[in-house]
Amino acid sequence: MLDYALRRLVMTFFVVLLIMTFLALLIQLVPGDPVRLVLGAKAPESVVQSVRHDMYLDKPVPAQVYYFFTNALRGDLGVDFQSQRSVTSLIWTALPHTAILALASLALAGLLGVPLGVYAATHPGGWLDRVTAVATISLITMPAYVAGLLLLLVFSVHWPILPATGTGSLSDPGDYLTHLMLPAIALAVTWIGYLARLVRTSMLEVLNERYILAARSQGIRDRLVVYKYALRNAVIPTIAVVGVGLGTLLGGAIFVEVIFARAGLGMLIYNSIQTRNYPIVRGGVLVVALLFVAVNLLTDFVYHMVDPRIRVSS
């Protein structure tokens, strides 16, 4: 286990190194002068020069990479082109809203997806199993923005019962919750289907195990066998995909946040792309990638710890 963890950590280190180099070099891909592009042809040369200096664009490329690394390690991701505010503080204000959104959708997906999968597995071939089979694949293939737009159409425009835009304020939890509802559902849709399916498959496998037969032969109630004996093992594979799933979730969040005008990380990145505010785009994308890497690492370790079989085989 220790050996595995160590190897995994070393690999992750190199991955992060590569990600950061890529992001540091990204601005080199801009056709023409990125600073001129943002400030416009009329901006005085002195201003362009000073912005270029602030972004280290007047330094050779390897130096640019070096400064990006050392500054990022100190938590400095540069400054916003327009407002001159630090990118780190902008990200810090946006991040909680995205984190809450992602966690809310994951919780929603677990709450709805897991029971659906268990029911389908214990009633194979039943009508609900068939309905869920079609429903889950429809949900899985539905992009987050389609779900978001349709929810917006139905619950904010046609029947205006939930707010269409805004984040609400955390000091007013009720208001925050009503603003959270539609975005969280839109983002959870794929995951409800995915979890239902995954749990169904692994549940069917577990229910074939001998210890389940043994438990049933001793007269333990079916409900207890299913939920206590089987489900515990059947959810293990879901831990592994939650890490990967967070990536889809963070990717989907950008659409959902744009649709519902939610002041999260996705919205921040989107707005900065519109105004070509490269430091924010770079910083925001870096934080998303690092989050994704960290969660993947964490779920991997958890996965190894909860299942002794994997621990031995690795």
Binding site: M11, T12, F14, V15, V16, L18, I19, F22, L23, L26, I27, L29, V30, P31, P34, A121, T122, P124, G125, I137, S138, I140, T141, M142, P143, Y145, V146, L149, L150, L152, L153, V157, H158, L204, E205, L207, N208, R216, D222, G247, T248, L250, G251, I254, F255, V258, I259, I269, Y270, I273, Q274, R276, Y278, V281, R282, V285, V288, A289, F292, N296
Partner: protein, 307 residues
């Protein structure tokens, strides 16, 4: 994971190794069409291809024909799905949008497959440090959610049809590389490969003649599953204004226009959503059925029975 057929359904499809590629393909299609999900997928995908090829014939209007007095209308006999904010016929735009969806998704997936296959074959076959470098590279690409990576690249490169294709191709490539790498490592252990090596066969010959046929089935399945992802990413980028530039009728652009006028008319959103959902669902069902048919290990478990 070995791909050797293990009886059951697969035997029906591939056991008689004889027959040309066409007869085997015919048999596979028949096997897929026998299942309801497979039939649905086949029908949707065929319909899509027909629409793409015959777009100018089946579309009642041109995708850019404006009739400003008829703007933002609901469905009528004249405009079956209504009109958008410039009075363009939504049905025609959805139909021509299919060309963009497939015109981006297919080349993008082909790029991903080619790049991924090459990387996977090399890293799986050579192993050691080459393998380690390739893995770090793949992990780095996959450390970004596909949409975010595409977004970041397009933000600097600027949106264009070519850039969208390349960016989606890059984002999807590691999936292929991983599958090919794993299968190559597994196939390398086989005795017939050892025999070939002892006979003096070169790396290229082994890769092309022995490894590729082994990994064809999973690659085929992955492709069918990736096309809907590519379509969804393309439409998503267009929705954010970073896809194929306007006035092209990408389904994502239709959604974006519809979103702007959501308070006045829902029809653009409804039309484009329906097209997107039907397409992705069709491809996904086809992909799943293909997997069931080609990889029987996943079906035929005993069932839990209520007492």
């Amino acid at each position: 994971m070995a791909v050797a057929s293990q009886g059951g359904e697969a035997a029906v499809v591939r056991a008689p190794a004889g027959g040309g590629v066409m007869t085997r393909l015919g048999r596979l299609i028949r096997e897929v069409a026998r299942r309801p999900a497979g039939l649905f997928g086949l029908l949707v995908v065929c319909l899509l291809f027909v629409v793409v090829v015959a777009a100018p014939v089946v579309a009642p209007y041109g995708p850019y024909d404006q009739s400003i007095v008829e703007r933002l209308q609901g469905p009528s006999l004249k405009h079956l799905l209504g009109t958008d904010e410039l009075g363009r016929d939504l049905l025609s735009r959805v139909i021509f949008g299919a060309r963009i969806a497939l015109g981006v998704a297919i080349p993008a997936v082909l790029i991903a497959m080619f790049v991924g296959m090459l990387t996977g074959l090399i890293s799986g076959y050579v192993g050691r440090s080459v393998d380690q470098v390739a893995i770090v590279g793949m992990d780095a690409i996959q450390a970004f959610p596909a949409v975010i990576l595409a977004l970041a690249l397009l933000a600097v490169l600027g949106p264009s049809l070519r850039n969208v294709v390349i960016v989606i191709g890059v984002a999807l490539a590691p999936g292929y590389a991983r599958v090919v790498r794993a299968m190559t490592r597994a196939a390398k252990q086989n005795q017939y490969v050892e025999a070939e090596v002892s006979l003096g066969a070169g790396t290229t010959r082994i890769a092309v003649h022995h490894l590729l046929p082994n990994i064809a089935a999973p690659l085929f399945i992955l492709t069918a599953m990736d096309i809907p992802s590519a379509i969804a990413i393309e439409a998503g980028l267009a929705f954010l204004g970073l896809g194929v530039p306007p006035p092209s009728p990408s389904w994502g652009a239709l959604l974006s226009d519809g979103f702007r006028y959501v308070l006045i008319s829902p029809w653009a959103i409804i039309a484009a959503s329906a097209a997107l959902m039907l397409t992705t669902l069709g491809f996904a069902m086809l992909g799943e059925t293909l997997r069931d048919v080609l990889d029987p290990k996943l079906s035929g478990t005993r069932r839990w029975r209520k007492r």
